[in-house]
């Protein structure tokens, strides 16, 4: 589904941040990418999402058999890739329900399906709201405007549940959540797990991984994946810290 080959990238005209990432994600898999601050986790997400201001200097990324970098961000999204933001953006004046519907229909249009009618769509959204234990009033609030940190993250997962991406890249979705919210968010993510979808979790902490069990764990340091393993690697990290692993790899 996602094949990253020797990816090098930097902030435009800045110093290199990603220095040769190799990663393959297959349908049905859950990958966790862990690493200390400044290791390149967020840059990797932004580059995969297609954010302006980053420059890919070499390497390639294939998504569903296509060259990812040939696709505009909106095309990536319509092709089923969803980036869950570390800091979800506030958009005053635009209602949540409106964004959800536009995004949902953009995907349907892309697949050649008719737009959803309002009634059916609302039914679908209500179901997902319930999963996320969110009140219906959320739908009529402006996108993330005045939301608490936890509400914003829940809203990201709500969007994910509605859009049902083939590949979800969740950038520190766990940061800023209390234990109860973490549980709700994790359950939301777990609901998406299926044989034909893949999830990439980017996180600092092992605690998320006790709620969402990954198939693979990768340790990112200084722009490279220095170690990969199964979920036990996360426990090892918890014990010895990033320094332990980084020292061992060096």
């Amino acid at each position: 589904m996602l094949k990253i080959n020797d990816l090098h990238a930097r902030v435009e005209n800045g110093t290199p941040i990603l220095k040769g990432i190799d990663l393959e994600v297959k349908p049905g898999e859950v990958h966790a990418i862990m690493g200390p601050n400044g290791s390149g986790k967020s840059t990797l997400c932004q580059v995969l999402g297609g954010r302006d201001g980053y420059e890919v200097t070499s390497g390639s990324v294939e998504y569903l058999g296509e060259d990812l970098f040939e696709l505009e961000p909106e095309e990536r999204a319509r092709a089923g890739m969803l980036l869950g933001f570390q800091y979800p953006v506030e958009i005053p004046g635009v209602k949540n329900i409106y964004l959800l519907k536009e995004a949902y229909n953009a995907q349907r249009k892309h697949r050649g399906e008719p737009e959803a009618d309002t009634f059916q769509f609302l039914k679908l959204v209500r179901e997902k709201l319930q999963m996320m234990q969110m009140d219906e009033s959320f739908l009529h609030r402006a996108v993330n405007a005045g939301f608490s940190g936890g509400e914003k993250k829940r809203n990201e997962i709500l969007q994910m549940l509605v859009l049902e991406p083939k590949l979800a890249l969740l950038d520190e979705t766990d940061s800023g959540l209390d234990i109860d919210a973490l549980k709700i968010v994790s359950e939301g993510v777990n609901k998406l797990r299926s044989a034909d979808r893949a999830i990439v979790l980017v996180t600092h902490y092992q605690r998320l991984l006790s709620h969402i069990e990954p198939d693979f764990v990768h340790v990112l340091s200084d722009g490279r994946i220095i170690k990969s393993g199964d979920k036990t690697l996360a426990h090892e990290l918890e014990r010895s810290g990033y320094q332990g692993i980084i020292g061992e790899a060096a």
Partner: protein, 482 residues
């Protein structure tokens, strides 16, 4: 990806859809302004003497006045002698008696503009008075309105058929010498629209005027007068376009509204005059005076405007709230892209007791445009219990445009309650990226944010015009981001 970026390139080159001009026989007065020109205009229209005298008085007053310079706009000095003050489509006889007699090319023009003169108008239930350059070409639905007792006709017809009403109300709201451009208009205005709604009548349909400047080097000086008698109700819409020309053209209109006891006038404008090109070449100077007088008790005047065109907009639709408990409203969306300059806002003058006013202004700036809100809320000594609420929001796209706010508040009565709220925000790259990452295209993302920003104002427009306004904004802001 390559086709994608081509699309974007095309979008960035902002197209002005109404930039065509129509090649028809026109009768045009040579450029220049003096008393003879004014006499000629008045004679062409077979005006009664009071009109000619009024014009001449205005002209003499205008000569003593100076062009205002306080607005936050810049333009080279206008040579008033280089403008032609009258241009009319030439017909075989005088005026066309029916649509069949109207030059087919003219009808084609309106067709292109999407103005429904024929059947579409009937379906939409809109009565249209179309002003082409200086004269009103045709007024549809005159008969159906006449059944209700509503008079809706060109200003010239009103002068001929209802001189007593014209004489009574002309200049009663915007006096001939009110300001430089209003005085110029009073001297040379060649046509416009006239509406009279009798006592207790609810006008059975939306009334609509479409203005079009076609001829080169002409100014358009139209004048609209709407009178709503006791307990009556009318909703009036105007739309404006002009061909794409490299020279600037002057548009100096005057609108006067009079609402008597318990009457209500709703006046909506979708202004899309040619804004000039990306470098600021060409475009209309839109210097307009619009004012409504809530003369009667419990009367209400509501202005809604979507200002998307013009090189320069200088316009302050205002309400003078004389009757007790009268209400004034101003809802505005003003969009400037490229080199456009806007200095617009409103005046709410509270004279009567318990008068209320609401001002909602949404200014959007993109490209290198400058957008200023200028508003006055004035409460005179005797206006017990006056209330005003003002909300003034600015939205910036990119980092080369400007937003300015000049609120003036004068309260002479201690019971006055005046609230003013203002915000400035910017469409951020992060917002655009967020929406794109949800599958929404860049243009749609901008439109979504802009429409969200403007929705309080769009909500005030009649349904079909709200849709038009949204589309217009989308066109105006194409390529403004990215």
């Amino acid at each position: 990806m390559s086709t994608q970026s081509q699309d974007v390139e095309q979008l960035i080159k902002r197209e002005y859809k109404y930039g065509f001009s129509t090649d028809i026989d026109q009768e045009i007065l040579p450029p220049g302004l003096n008393e003879d020109v004014i006499r000629a205009i008045s004679a062409k229209k077979n005006e009664p003497e009071f009109m000619l005298n009024w014009r001449l008085e205005a002209y003499r007053h205008w000569l003593t006045m100076r062009e205002p310079s306080w607005a936050h706009v810049h333009y080279p000095k206008i040579d008033y002698q280089a403008i032609s003050y009258y241009a009319a489509p030439k017909s075989k006889d005088d005026a066309p008696k029916s649509l069949d007699e109207v030059d087919p090319k003219l009808l084609e023009t309106y067709e292109k503009l999407g103005i429904p003169l024929h059947e579409r108008a009937r379906l939409a239930g809109v009565a249209v008075d179309a002003v082409f350059d200086s004269v009103s070409v045709t007024t549809t639905f005159k008969e159906k309105l006449a059944e209700a007792g509503v008079i809706f006709c060109s200003f010239s017809d009103a002068v001929r058929d209802h001189p007593e009403l014209v004489e009574k109300y002309l200049g009663s709201v915007v006096p001939a010498g009110d300001n430089y451009f209003a005085a110029l208009n009073a001297a040379v205005f060649s046509d416009g629209s006239f509406v009279y709604v009798p006592k207790g009548v609810r006008c059975p349909m939306e009334l609509s005027t479409y203005f079009r400047i076609n001829a080169m080097n002409t100014g358009q000086f139209e004048r609209t007068l709407i009178i709503a008698e006791e307990g009556s109700h009318v909703s009036y819409l105007e739309g404006c376009t002009a061909p794409q020309r490299d020279e600037n053209q002057l548009h100096a209109a005057v609108v006067e509204l009079v609402a008597l006891d318990d009457a209500e006038i709703k006046y909506s404008t979708v202004q899309n005059w040619y804004p000039g090109d990306e470098e600021g070449k060409g475009g209309i100077y839109n210097f307009v005076t619009k004012r409504g007088q809530c003369l009667g008790r419990n009367s209400k005047i509501s202005w809604t405007q979507v200002e998307a065109g013009s090189a320069i907009t200088w316009k302050y639709p205002s309400c003078v709230l004389i009757g007790d408990n009268s209400v004034g409203e101003f809802y505005s969306v003003a969009v400037g892209n490229n080199m456009q300059q806007i200095d617009s806002g409103t005046k709410m003058v509270h004279v009567g007791k318990n008068t209320r006013s609401t001002i909602i202004s949404k200014g959007i700036s993109a490209g290198r445009a400058n957008n200023a809100y200028r508003g006055l809320v004035k409460v005179v000594g005797g206006a017990e219990g006056a209330r005003n609420y003002t909300q003034c929001d600015s939205l910036l796209l990119g980092d080369r445009c400007g937003a300015h706010t000049y609120p003036y508040i004068e309260a002479k009565n201690p019971t006055a309650q005046i609230e003013h709220e203002a915000t400035t925000s910017k469409i951020g790259d992060d917002q655009i990226f967020y929406l794109k990452q949800r599958g929404i295209s860049e243009e749609d993302a901008v439109n979504m944010i802009v429409n969200g920003f403007c929705k309080e104002v769009f909500g005030e427009l009649p349904m079909e015009f709200a849709v038009e306004a949204q589309a217009l904004l989308a066109v105006s802001l194409e390529g403004a981001v990215g």
